[in-house]
Symmetry: C2
Subunit: 232 residues, 2 copies
Amino acid sequence: MLEVACSECGLDPMCQVLDYAAPGSGVPSGILLRRQPVEKGERLFRVDQPFAAVYAVKSGSFKATVPDLNRRERVIGFYLPGDLIGTDGMANRHYSYSVRALEASSVCVLDISRLEQSGRSVEAVQRALIEMLGQEIALNHAVTISLIRQNAEQRLAAFILALAIRSSLRGLGNKRLYLCMSRSDIASYLGLARETVSRVLTRFQKDGLIRLRKQSLILLCQEKLQQVATFR
Amino acid sequence: MLEVACSECGLDPMCQVLDYAAPGSGVPSGILLRRQPVEKGERLFRVDQPFAAVYAVKSGSFKATVPDLNRRERVIGFYLPGDLIGTDGMANRHYSYSVRALEASSVCVLDISRLEQSGRSVEAVQRALIEMLGQEIALNHAVTISLIRQNAEQRLAAFILALAIRSSLRGLGNKRLYLCMSRSDIASYLGLARETVSRVLTRFQKDGLIRLRKQSLILLCQEKLQQVATFR
DNA sequence: AACTTTCGTTGATCTATGTCAATTTACATG
DNA sequence: CATGTAAATTGACATAGATCAACGAAAGTT
């Protein structure tokens, strides 16, 4: 299982701080749990559960869902190595979505509740928190913009490219991707029918933009995919 | 011009801290400018401008836009009294959108750059920042979810209800609303054609859900609107 | 291994909403 | 006040993508 390097991880600002904090700095030990294994299908937390910790994906992948009105789960995000999970719970005191592993994975766990419990929090810790939250906002922002007003091809092209970028950021190549989620999950996330996802992917393949077999996807022409994603 | 009370304002956590900070607390004076007037059409800041301050709407309204590929502006948010503007710039060091006033308005300005400049920041200030950022994340989250996967009627119903909620939160009634933005702005924001916005609004009116004249909108049946927004 | 269930693909329709066009209304400017 | 420009409304039409349906391929279960 491929792991993301700590330097590429969203939790890194915090890890830096906690590692380098002097023993008497007021940071309780055991607040940061490294490399906890998570089984496929296992839940990190459920909707409305009281907020306790922020997770960083070390290896594997996760999906976040919210319950729909018809009891159908709606996918609102995927988490890959280096990504942070649960930051928005900090404000709400509760998680606003459920998260489960798409495959055997591992995470680092930052026990925020204990951080607060410790009373006088270290300023550097707060700085790190602020940085992490800011990143989260910027990310959500970008996602929202890309999903509204885009047609099916654009959404899927952008989705694939985003995966590629995240993959290359974490040190893996950006040509060979592993689609850890099902077509239905992708469809739910992009606000499309799963049939549409299927059709567009086969169209991309016929047009020589990608090569797709089962879960593995190879980018054949990144520029063209980029064009599909951006031009209308 | 109607003003939001400080207690209802998103910047309040920070104002509390700054007001109550003792003179020798390390908070430079002049960091918080209260009630600055802004003319209609005036810009608070542009895309890519270096981040300098967070704004809180005291009265009036604003819209945020990002430049489209075709040089068309795409509306990505509206700000009403009590709302915070510019929080995401904290992480990026640059604003990721432009903001301009839809009408004569006023804002409180929190000069973050000077806050940082002051060197040793007060812990309470950081706490307030964290709270503000957390709120921002939760809000964006909700917006994203409501925009994907909803049809035109649902989006507009949700949009109107959101306005009503925000209006009542700031102490005004929730029956009479003022649509400060144009139909085109609404359309752009919701990812619809402006003709569709027009049609759906008149349909709502024919069905007795709302009464609409020019910019003023009256909620006639909030429950039904709620149903439209949630059920499919 | 046999069975059941889930997942992915493909085809045939149907419909919501975008696009184009014409008209009306509101608003700004001389 | 008159005139020009932008915004809003309404209608006619086109189409992207949802829905319904059928089938084959994986994957999980007994």
